[in-house]
């Protein structure tokens, strides 16, 4: 049994007061308690940015706070070395949709069994407010051309994930704990590439995507009879960019994950397997003339 005390953060949180990340951290802890997977079998791989600090604020788990944009490939390696672990990626919109977008798309295509939680606030917070790849067109920031603001449409992680081959794709909101915890638990349990795009306000920099905005502009997919097994209707919902933003599970199917088609040992995790020197010798001897 995992306890609340075990998960107490090893470090003092450095996020701004009122930051959407608090809600994501709280939901993560609740999800870990609910999952009741032994903490030594949980691993967080995080990138760089405010989201990347998440592993320092939750205790007991394993974690690897690595590089900007690269937590997905690092997580993939961890998972391959030990498929008994549950690997969770904490990444931001700059991390995942800017620097690391290629990895995101290819990991979805591979359907590698990891869960990716995107802390999505539309802004580069830690570098002080530049427009992120998820910022709306026209978003004004210190690096978007004045006056029109961000001169392009935002990246759409939900639509990208569905199109690329992810097998569990959802959107949560940091302010809706009940739904977010449920989505996190499902994503970790799901066998395959699971994405939860988590809307969160950046209270310091983003004056547009605020608590108020999200509270007023989100609605539940599940309360509105969405068919999560239909890829096209999932994509249709994902591409909505006017009016209210759907929250909940967009798409969920069962499909073979990456390890299903690789030759990993069955009895033990790859990391504990030892190649037989006799087999290597045989390979060499077979080449002798």
């Amino acid at each position: 049994m995992t306890t609340v005390d075990q998960l107490e953060g090893p470090q003092k949180v450095t996020w701004c007061t009122g930051c959407g990340n608090y809600g994501i951290l709280a939901a993560l802890k609740k999800a870990v308690l609910q999952l009741d997977i032994p903490v030594h079998n949980l691993v967080i791989s995080s990138g760089i940015g405010c989201s990347g600090k998440a592993p320092h604020y939750i205790g007991g788990l394993n974690s690897f706070h690595n590089l900007h944009g690269r937590p997905i490939p690092v997580a993939t390696g961890i998972h391959m070395a030990n498929k008994d672990l549950n690997v969770i990626v904490h990444t931001g919109d700059g991390d995942c949709l800017g620097e690391g977008l290629g990895h995101f798309v290819h990991a979805a295509r591979r359907n590698v069994n990891i869960a990716v939680f995107i802390h999505n606030n539309g802004v580069m917070g830690l570098t002080k407010g530049q427009f992120s790849p998820a910022a709306p067109r026209g978003y004004v920031s210190n690096t978007s051309p004045p006056p029109p603001g961000a001169p392009m449409d935002p990246a759409n992680p939900v639509a990208l994930a569905i199109a690329a081959g992810a097998t569990y794709v959802a959107r949560g909101f940091s302010g809706d704990q009940k739904v977010l915890v449920k989505l996190m638990v499902e994503a970790v349990k799901h066998r395959g590439f699971a994405v939860v795009d988590i809307l969160q306000p950046c209270v310091t920099w983003n004056r547009q995507l605020t608590w108020k905005f999200y509270n007023e502009h989100t609605y539940s997919l599940q309360d509105n009879r969405h068919d999560t097994s239909n890829r096209l209707s999932a994509l249709e919902k994902a591409l909505v960019n006017e009016g209210k933003i759907p929250i909940g599970v967009f798409y969920r199917i069962d499909a073979p994950d990456l390890v299903a088609n690789m030759f990993l040992p069955e009895a033990v995790p790859l990391k504990d397997h030892t190649t037989s020197l006799k087999d290597v010798q045989q390979i060499i001897d077979d080449l002798m003339i």
Binding site: P38, H65, M80, A81
Partner: protein, 572 residues
């Protein structure tokens, strides 16, 4: 006996197969062989060659003169005839149009006989073999035995067909070819060489990695590194090795770092351009103290450079790649046999010191084939370094401060432990910090590894008299050509030795200082333009070399080339 065959033609014509056949026949017959592959970055057409050198004495480099050219295209004659020795022979397939037939000594009906006798144009390889061996008066009996062994696995029919085609061309050539080769091997018995394992540098590294219990390899294809990745991939099923082709080199190394953090011995393979992409993650491996083995099969740069050719110009780049300062190890095997053991050492050193270990090869090293003695893997020793798998309990600290700078490793999944790693400056428990004292402690911790790392580096090999007046300073794959040059120079009465390095970084200097202090003329022989290793030597010791011999045309060195360069410099 020292014969060189040059088999040339268009990409896709099977020149490699003819080269392989020739090599196998001579290895089977007890000779030393050394084969280089020279090819263009294209799938079909163009002009490529395979050059096989055969000797009854050990050889470790190609030569720049040819005894027999087997030409499957016009270019194959034109490009090489200047290198043909006076008594040399050009064998030319008579179906190919050529306006300068005078230049060819023997127009052989290779394709015709393959079709007529073998019923398959692919048996042209056996036809070329038959013609070539006949020119040398090589006893057909030996060839027949070799062909039977080589094609045996493919069934009796294939054996018979190939033997028949080879024999037909052999006999036809004996009858029709009026010229004479400088070698007449008709009384040849089996040779002295018992080395029956044909290896490239890349294949040897793959075998070393497999013996060292590599459990993860991720890579993006890049010449000339790819064949190593392909080899491990091909055995991944039998040996249970995780192998994955990634979207790019960044992903490849990040996956390897993740897998290694989780406890699997991991490796990436690439060339200079791919390594450039990996540099940020190289720093991550260093900061997070995650062991990883990186293989760079160098090719001429910068940028795409010459994709299928050779150079040793990434040395300083790799020694100083990444922001920040951290210990790393660089090893450059001289040939396939050494490469096998270097791969095992690389994994052991990476685990022992929890640092990135880089193996430097190059296209010449990667693709050249030589026969080596059977490799016995049964004595392979694995050193996983300090582990804290059971005894430390719940207060495990991934970056525990220790006298030697090395903290015991544990892996995610170990009960009661939380393994916290980070690319940020971190505390002993792995959580991040900006505290100045902790930063200092962690920098000192990483530098405290250096004395033991230095101790683990092998000193250079000295060939020849320690008190010689002239020293050839070499590293990595240029060893063979330089070593052969050393013999030629010594035979000519010069006082010369060779100081050769496999372990190039960090540079161990005791023996280096001792030998170089006695030398009056130090000559750096390097496959690059700025003598990068000599620069490293100067950095580490203050010793400057006196002369530089540099090759940067992308083609491998030969002993004769080195000797000529030395003469040109005016050294006596």
């Amino acid at each position: 006996m020292d014969i060189t065959f040059n088999i040339g033609g268009e990409a896709g014509q099977g020149i490699d197969t003819i080269g392989d056949l020739l090599t196998q026949v001579f290895v089977q017959a007890g000779f030393y062989t050394f084969t280089i592959k020279d090819f263009e970055s294209r799938i079909r057409g163009g002009y490529n060659f395979t050059q096989v050198r055969v000797s009854d004495e050990p050889i470790h480099a190609p030569v720049d003169y040819i005894d027999v050219i087997v030409a499957l295209s016009r270019d194959a004659v034109v490009a090489q005839r200047d290198r043909l020795i006076e008594e040399g022979v050009i064998i030319f397939d008579d179906t190919i149009e050529f306006d300068d037939l005078e230049a060819c000594h023997y127009q052989a009906p290779l394709e015709k006989v393959a079709k007529e006798v073998g019923g398959n144009v692919r048996m042209m390889n056996a036809a070329a073999l038959g013609a070539t061996l006949s020119v040398l008066r090589f006893p057909f009996k030996l060839a027949e035995e070799a062909l039977t062994a080589i094609f045996g696995r493919k069934g009796e029919k294939i054996v018979e067909g190939n033997v028949a085609v080879a024999k037909a061309l052999y006999d036809l050539t004996t009858e029709k070819f009026a010229g004479k080769c400088r070698y007449n091997l008709d009384t040849l018995e089996t040779g002295p060489c018992k080395d029956k394992l044909l290896l490239t540098g890349n294949k040897a590294l793959a075998f070393g990695a497999m013996a060292a219990n590599i459990k993860w390899i991720s890579a993006y294809p890049m010449s000339p590194s790819t064949s190593l990745f392909m080899d491990i991939m091909s055995y991944s099923r039998d040996l249970n090795i995780g192998a994955l082709q990634t979207e790019d080199e960044i992903s490849a190394i990040c996956m390897a770092i993740g897998a290694s953090y989780a406890g699997a011995r991991s490796m990436v393979t690439t060339s200079g351009g791919g390594f450039s992409l990996m540099v940020e993650a190289l720093g991550l491996a260093a900061m997070a103290e995650v062991p990883v083995v990186i293989y760079n099969a160098q090719r001429p740069g910068p940028s795409t450079g010459l994709p299928t050719r050779t150079e040793q110009a990434d040395l300083l780049f790799m020694a100083f790649a990444s922001q920040g300062e951290f210990p790393r190890i660089m090893l450059a095997p001289k040939d396939p046999l050494e490469a096998f053991y270097v791969a095992i050492r690389a994994f052991n050193l990476a685990d022992k010191f929890q640092i990135p270990v880089m193996i430097l090869g190059d296209q010449y090293f990667a693709d050249s084939v030589m026969n080596v003695p059977r490799i016995d893997v049964s004595n392979t020793k694995l050193d996983r370094g300090k582990l804290a798998r059971v005894d430390t309990g719940s207060d495990y600290k991934r970056y525990l401060l220790t006298d030697d700078g090395i903290s015991p490793r544990a892996f995610p999944g170990d009960e009661g432990k939380s393994i916290v790693a980070s690319g940020n400056v971190h505390r002993e428990d792995g959580h991040i910090t900006e505290n100045a004292d902790i930063r200092n402690n962690m920098v000192v911790k990483s530098m405290n590894k250096l004395p033991a790392i230095m101790n683990a580096m092998n000193p250079p090999e000295l060939y020849g008299d320690e008190n010689a007046k002239i020293t050839l300073l070499t590293w990595g794959s240029t060893w063979g050509a330089a070593n052969e040059a050393l013999q030629i120079l010594k035979d000519a009465g010069m006082s010369v030795n060779q100081l050769h390095f496999c372990d190039i970084y960090p540079l161990r200097t005791e023996k280096l200082r001792k030998v170089l202090s006695k030398s009056k003329q130090i000559i750096a022989v390097e496959q690059n333009v700025t003598s990068q290793f000599a620069q490293l030597v100067k950095m580490a010791t203050g010793i400057s070399v006196h002369h530089h011999i540099n090759k940067y045309d992308g083609r491998p060195m030969t002993a004769r080339w080195i000797v000529n360069e030395i003469k040109e410099v005016g050294i006596k």
